[in-house]
């Protein structure tokens, strides 16, 4: 735990240590613990990010192995390498692994590793959250793969379409392993999104204002917002399907008023932005590497930022282009066809900016650049077949054939894996302090490049001829057996190339030639660090005056390694980072971070046991596990920002800044904003589900349900408004110094919110009956449960803050926690009003 123990060897602020002592102190404060315990409790971003990358590469190998079996099966018609059942399982697990356990996490790993180093800070703002995310990702992945041990591997495809995946057509636990395991692993995606948004907004080095932010950071900022809006629809869909499978609800079942297409809408509402969630970080990597090897600043910085922002939005207007063949009216399809073509505009802008940068510079062909060229060729082909598929009539022709398989692998391997390998080689000297082997890395590239194109180019033809995807064999009459044999053989060449690359990278850490510092002569800030980078990154937080700070000011390298700059002294022997203004990047606050702790591992373990209880239908165990889980999170919250944290510290001689508990732009506040974006998107997806079911239902309320009685309904509304007043008054009282009144207002809010639920739920039970009767009841009860869950969390938060006020950890100055609590309460009351309107008002007028 990170409880403060008085250590008399640690200097107090104002002591002036020598440089060597300060470095020793930084080393000690930022180090992980020793041995295995140290590894299990580590939270710092370098350690955690490298784990994300290594774990992601591990899953790449596993997912790749599955694809080798798939290719063997398809190498000739009528083979029996995999029987149809196994084939479906392997196809499902291959897609699921590559998307959820490789592509997204590894890009997060890159972002978590690079963002603090590029922005000139020491760590991410919520280090325990990073560690928690990684454990969830690891356990989620293992949970999914444990299905092999229990002999019930998911086989419904990585898209898990209903009704195939409901309990009628997929009995057994396969689909449950998918729904629970993937959702568990996705916790990492959303926590990383919050973390990265806050890091980029408030922890950039002084002087790194919005015009000087590295393009990689812009790409990650947009990606993180996309995750916040894009992942919740899938999380919600998974929850709904799991509820249907476990408790016999009726969201997707036609006979009881449900609609299987609802799943497809929610899935692709996630699924298409997902492609860009993978591609944008890769584009950020390209925008970083291209200027370095063109040896000039990027051309069209503003245009690239425009392209990133525009892609972030437009990519949400494409989801139905995966559903062109399901029988939606033509005009609706045309909207999505048009948006699919519009999104090519920003992507085109980026490609032209990269070409212009290379054109205007003096290009230097080293291994990372080789992969970038591989990316250009492959991704442009994939993009063009994407535009072809955006035409509705063409899509009808090519739908569910290997043409689509070719397209998506060109886009994903071209758009994500080539840049990822480029980045791996580019930043390897920074992470390892050594250079990769030039010969092995070039051989690896050529094996991957040639293997990839020979494997997937023929699939365009086999698909156009009519070879279906997701089926374990094909007819000899199609005449595509030789092309398939070529694909299989080339697929193995690709696999050998990937293994060669991974061996090369692993060997580099041990045997690589010691490299010079900044071997590519890059201009971004991470290259100012010693190689390999120390855990605290910068001995002094740098001050930045340009987009490519190291090209602009070579003396910066030296300045960041001295300890006489910003935060050169680890005040009170704690981990500190600097907080700066969102636009101006002027120093605003000192942020104290947590050190190593068991909390993330224990919390993730509790969730794992909870979910294990759920999938085995031992619901008592799941409920029981809520106790340690809530306890751990309360402990987590209790150990930051208390009265033991000073209100102000000296970050440098002559510069004194408030600490985050008293600062306006505190990371905790922006963490709340990010969390509410995610929760709001989850709620919006549920509201979408409600209206979607309404639109396709003959009667609303359906299934013999009636309207709720007026008296409890109005009383519930009154109670909800009272809760809103309590939550609104609480921080006002606190700021005025009336701590006791603040506690009273909190209690009022808690009591009223509970009363509001207590009034609504029995009325609902009378009017609607069991949720299993009809999709109407299912969605109404889910809305009510969703709100009840949020009220429960809000009650916990309000109780927690009231206790913190009582204990003197939160007061008029140290008001951050009260602000966060009020922010959450406001959201819950607003959400409660919408839920109330949907439960009681809308059915009266529908």
């Amino acid at each position: 735990m990170s409880a403060p123990t008085p250590d008399h060897t640690i200097p107090t602020p104002g002591d002036h240590l020598r440089h060597a002592d300060r470095i020793a102190l930084l080393e000690r404060v930022w180090a992980n613990g020793r041995g295995l315990v140290g590894q299990l409790t580590a939270v710092n971003h370098t350690t955690i990010a490298l784990r994300f990358i290594v774990t992601g590469l591990g899953f790449l190998l596993v997912g790749g192995m599955l694809s080798m079996f798939i290719r063997l099966q398809l190498s000739w018609p009528g083979l029996n390498v995999l029987d149809p059942e196994r084939y479906a399982q392997f196809v499902t697990m291959h897609g699921t692994t590559m998307m959820f356990l490789f592509a997204v996490p590894i890009m997060e790993g890159f972002a978590m590793y690079l963002i603090p180093k590029m922005l000139g800070t020491r760590d991410l703002p919520f280090p325990r959250l990073s560690a928690f995310g990684w454990w969830c990702y690891l356990f989620g992945g293992l949970f999914l793969y444990s299905s092999f041990i229990f002999g019930s591997v998911p086989d419904g495809g990585w898209f898990m379409y209903t009704p195939l995946t409901d309990s009628t057509y997929s009995p057994g636990k396969g689909a449950d392993f998918w729904l629970i395991g993937v959702t568990f692993a996705e916790i990492a995606a959303v926590t990383a999104a919050v973390e990265l948004i806050v890091a980029i907004l408030v922890t950039r080095a002084p002087g790194m204002d919005l015009t000087r932010m590295p393009l990689f950071a812009w790409a990650i900022l947009v990606t993180a917002f996309m995750i916040a809006f894009g992942f919740p629809p899938l999380i919600l869909a998974s929850l709904l399907l799991e509820i249907q499978r476990a408790f016999d609800f009726a969201f997707f079942e036609v006979a009881r008023g449900g609609d299987p297409l609802l799943w497809q809408h929610l899935f692709w509402l996630f699924g298409h932005p997902e492609v860009y969630i993978i591609f944008l970080p890769a584009a950020g990597v390209v925008s970083t590497i291209v200027p370095t090897f063109a040896r000039r600043p990027i051309v069209g910085y503003t245009w690239i930022v425009l392209a990133l922002v525009a892609t972030g939005f437009l990519s949400f207007g494409l989801w139905v282009h995966h559903m062109f063949a399901v029988g939606i009216p033509l005009l609706a399809l045309a909207f999505f066809s048009a948006a699919s073509m519009a999104v090519a505009i920003p992507t085109g802008i980026q490609v032209f900016a990269w070409i212009a940068t290379l054109w205007a510079g003096k290009p230097w062909l080293r291994v990372p650049m080789l992969y970038i060229i591989g990316f250009f060729i492959t991704f442009v082909c994939g993009g063009l077949t994407g535009v072809m598929l955006a035409f509705v009539p063409f899509d009808w022709q090519a739908h569910d054939t290997h043409f689509v398989v070719a397209h998506l692998h060109y886009v994903l391997i071209g758009g994500m894996m080539f840049p990822m390998f480029a980045g791996l080689y580019y930043w390897l000297p920074l992470a390892s302090g050594r250079m990769p082997s030039e010969s092995l890395s070039r051989s690896g590239f050529w094996l991957v490049f040639i293997g990839f194109h020979l494997a997937f180019l023929p699939m365009h033809i086999t698909g156009l001829v009519g070879m279906p995807r997701r089926v374990e064999s094909y007819a000899m009459e199609l005449g595509v057996q030789w092309l398939n044999l070529l694909s299989t053989a080339a697929g193995f060449v690709l696999a050998v190339g990937i293994v060669a690359i991974l061996i090369d990278v692993a060997l580099c850490f041990r045997l690589g030639r010691r490299g010079t510092e900044n071997p590519w002569q890059a201009g971004t800030l991470e290259w100012a660090l010693p190689h390999p980078a120390p855990k605290y990154n910068f001995a002094s937080i740098p001050v930045v005056g340009d987009r490519d700070p190291l090209w602009h000011d070579p003396a910066l390298v030296e300045a960041t390694r001295r300890t006489d700059g910003l935060l050169g002294e680890a005040v009170e022997g704690r981990r500190w980072i600097l907080g700066t203004g969102i636009q101006s990047a002027q120093p605003e606050q000192a942020i104290r971070l947590s050190g190593s702790t068991w909390l993330p591992l224990l919390a993730a373990l509790s969730i794992a046991v909870l979910l294990g209880g759920f999938i085995t239908s031992q619901y008592w165990l799941s409920v029981l596990m809520l106790l340690p889980l809530v306890g751990l999170f309360l402990r987590w919250l209790w150990t930051v920002n208390g009265r033991e944290t000073p209100l102000e510290i000296d970050v440098a001689p002559g510069l004194r800044l408030p600490t985050q508990a008293a600062a306006h732009n505190a990371p905790g506040w922006w963490g709340l904003v990010g969390t509410l974006l995610i929760v709001g998107s989850l709620f919006a997806s549920l509201v979408f589900a409600y209206f979607y079911l309404w639109l396709n239902a003959p009667a609303w309320p359906g299934g013999g349900a009636t309207l709720t009685a007026s008296t409890p309904m109005l009383a519930a509304l009154g109670a909800l408004l009272a809760a809103g007043i309590g939550a609104w008054r609480m921080p006002i009282a606190l700021r005025a110094g009336h701590a006791r009144a603040a506690v009273v207002w909190s209690v009022l809010a808690i009591a009223s919110a509970i009363a509001s639920l207590a009034l609504q739920l029995p009325a609902l039970a009378d009017a609607v009956g069991a949720p299993q009767r009809h999709a109407y009841g299912s969605v109404v009860w889910t809305l009510a449960g969703f709100q009840a869950l949020h009220v429960a969390v809000a009650v916990l938060i309000a109780g927690f803050v009231a206790l913190r006020i009582h204990r003197g950890h939160v007061d008029a100055v140290r008001s951050l926690e009260a602000r966060i609590a009020t922010g959450f309460w406001r959201y819950v009351v607003a959400q409660g009003l919408i839920v109330w309107a949907l439960l009681h008002l809308f059915p009266r007028f529908a």
Binding site: G207, D209, L210, T211, T302, W303, V305, L306, V309, A310, G312, F313, L314, F316, G317, P329, L330, L331, A332, A334, F335, S337, A338, A339, M341, A342, I345, P346, G581, I582, Q583, S584, Q586, E588, H664, N665, L695, N696
Partner: protein, 123 residues
């Protein structure tokens, strides 16, 4: 405290928010027209729904144009200021970015509207 700027990140992305709202509204109304026969009666030779979709498109374009024009004015005034100050550089960047975002959002709205001109509401 951070320096206040007339155009921030939120303001910069507003035209694309308008695009998103327009997209969602047009798509939902079209769905209602086909599933619930909303506003299908012909008015002056076109279905009422088609008129509504056109009106929404015009409205979206006007709102985007207002944002775009404001950004363009900001950009001109930032360009008129002398070089060298960080604030000026930031202002130029943000206003130029905002104007370009408005342009691309307008293109996006037009792309969404083209099918309305070419296809019947429900087919």
């Amino acid at each position: 405290m951070s320096t206040r700027l007339p155009i921030g990140l939120t303001r910069m992305s507003m035209p694309l928010v308008v695009w998103a709202l327009h997209f969602v509204t047009v798509y939902s109304l079209q769905g209602l027209a086909c599933a619930r026969a909303l506003w299908r009666a012909p008015v002056a030779g076109l279905e009422t729904m088609t008129w509504v979709l056109w009106a929404l498109t015009a409205l979206a374009l006007v709102v985007i144009a207002v944002f775009g024009a404001a950004a363009l004015r900001g950009w001109r005034s930032a360009r008129a200021q002398p070089d060298g100050r960080t604030e000026t550089a930031r202002m130029r960047f943000l206003t130029a970015l905002s104007a370009l975002v408005a342009l691309i959002a307008a293109i996006g709205v037009v792309f969404t509207a083209v099918p309305v001109a070419l296809l019947p509401t429900c087919a």
